[in-house]
């Protein structure tokens, strides 16, 4: 009798504990259902729309996000560099390559919650496409790091994990058909502060 009760409790504990924990975990990880990966960049074109999958819907409700609409823009998030290592705030990176068609785009360095990195200076850890220097072939090279660098410089500060958020505004790639042949810039690690 006691054994039966114990087994029943065990089943219930696994069901409720496991079920709850797995939902919590699935909502916590950045990656997920409905993601589109281009190089190191990940986008969720369906997030925040009624057509989104249940995981995206739950994430929207839990984090209170108001996702960009199709006519507004599309955000990509990168958490790794081209070598597959996690992005670190104490390291410097080079973001180089061509960008897809858009009226303009913005790039910022973000912390775990995807808020902009605090630099402690008037200069934001953010850049936008109107203020950039371009190469002759219209490609862009952006240096990311704590120390000032010539050309395009994205200031970061602190230590720990970092994400890059690249958002294209008023862009044809936000319609899903455009996403197949989009190429995004590469993120190359240039070095780290010891």
């Amino acid at each position: 009798m006691l054994k039966n009760a114990f087994l029943m409790l065990l089943s219930l504990a696994i069901a409720i504990g496991g079920g709850g924990a797995s939902v919590w975990y699935a909502l916590k990880i950045q990656d997920g259902v409905g993601a589109i990966r281009i190089g190191q960049w990940t986008a969720f074109p369906d997030i925040g729309t009624p057509a989104a999958d249940p995981y995206s819907k739950a994430r929207v409700a839990r984090e209170g996000v108001l996702a960009l609409g199709r006519a507004e823009g599309l955000s990509f998030v990168a958490e790794n560099d081209a070598a597959g290592d996690q992005l670190k705030r104490e390291c410097s990176y080079r973001i180089e390559g061509g960008f897809p068609t858009a009226r303009f785009w913005t790039l910022y360095a973000a912390d775990q919650s995807l808020g902009v990195v605090e630099t402690g200076k008037p200069r934001l850890a953010a850049l936008q496409s109107y203020q950039l220097l371009r190469q002759a072939d219209n490609s862009v090279t952006i240096s990311v790091g704590h120390h000032p660098m010539p050309g395009n410089w994205l200031l970061t500060d602190g230590s720990g994990r970092m994400y890059f958020v690249l958002t294209f505004y008023d862009t044809p790639i936000a319609s899903s058909t455009g996403l197949s042949d989009v190429s995004l810039p590469r993120i190359v690690k240039a070095g780290c502060d010891a």
């Binding site: 696994i14 069901a15 079920g19 409700a61």
Partner: protein, 189 residues
């Protein structure tokens, strides 16, 4: 020996049952999260301000942002509305480099969006209304609604968000004024 095997089998049964249960709980919890969340955009906004009140979403206006905003190079403002009380009109004066607008339903799903290229002369003047209200308005379009963008939304409660691009520091006061002077009003008809 036999006794131990039987116990093990029952233990295995219990674990298996637990795992199947975990799957069911997973699905149920996942589908219930949007229903019961008190941290969704609507709930956060309703704690900050009333219906038909524009409420800045960026940290610039002082205090922590109500809804986790967006791009650091953007300012945003939002108002909640209820179409059961009537159609709602959103206006913002002035010219800024880029603005875009989204209409969200009660659950924070984006149901309609457009940007300044859609609007006549780049002026933000929009009316959100239900299909039934649209039929009424079509019969006799008031003079001052001629240039407005009509957004037909099959919802009652919703959120309207205006986002505006701040290319550099010199644009901050202009974009701030654009958003602060925006209005979100119940439109009589």
């Amino acid at each position: 020996m036999r006794n131990v095997l039987a116990t093990l089998r029952r233990l295995f049964h219990a674990v298996l049952l637990g795992l199947v249960g975990a799957g069911i709980v997973h699905i149920v919890v996942l589908l219930l999260v949007p229903e019961f969340s008190e941290r969704d955009a609507w709930s956060r906004l309703s704690m900050a301000s009333d219906l038909y009140r524009m409420n800045r979403l960026d940290a610039e206006a002082g205090g922590a942002p109500v809804v986790k905003s967006v791009d650091p190079l953007f300012y945003a403002t939002a108002c909640r509305f209820d179409l059961e009380e009537g159609m709602v009109r959103i206006k913002a004066p002035g010219n800024v480099p880029f603005w875009s607008v989204s209409v969200y339903d009660r659950n924070g799903h984006n149901i309609y969006s457009f940007n300044d290229h859609t609007a006549t002369g780049g002026k933000l003047d929009a009316v959100v209304l239900t299909p039934a209200q649209m039929i009424d308005v079509r019969k006799d379009l008031p003079e001052d609604l001629q240039g407005a963008i009509f957004v037909e939304a099959p919802i009652d409660e919703g959120i309207f968000v205006i986002r505006s691009f701040v290319p550099d520091d010199s644009w901050k006061p202009i974009v701030s004024r654009f958003l602060d002077q925006s209005s979100c009003e119940l439109q009589d008809f």
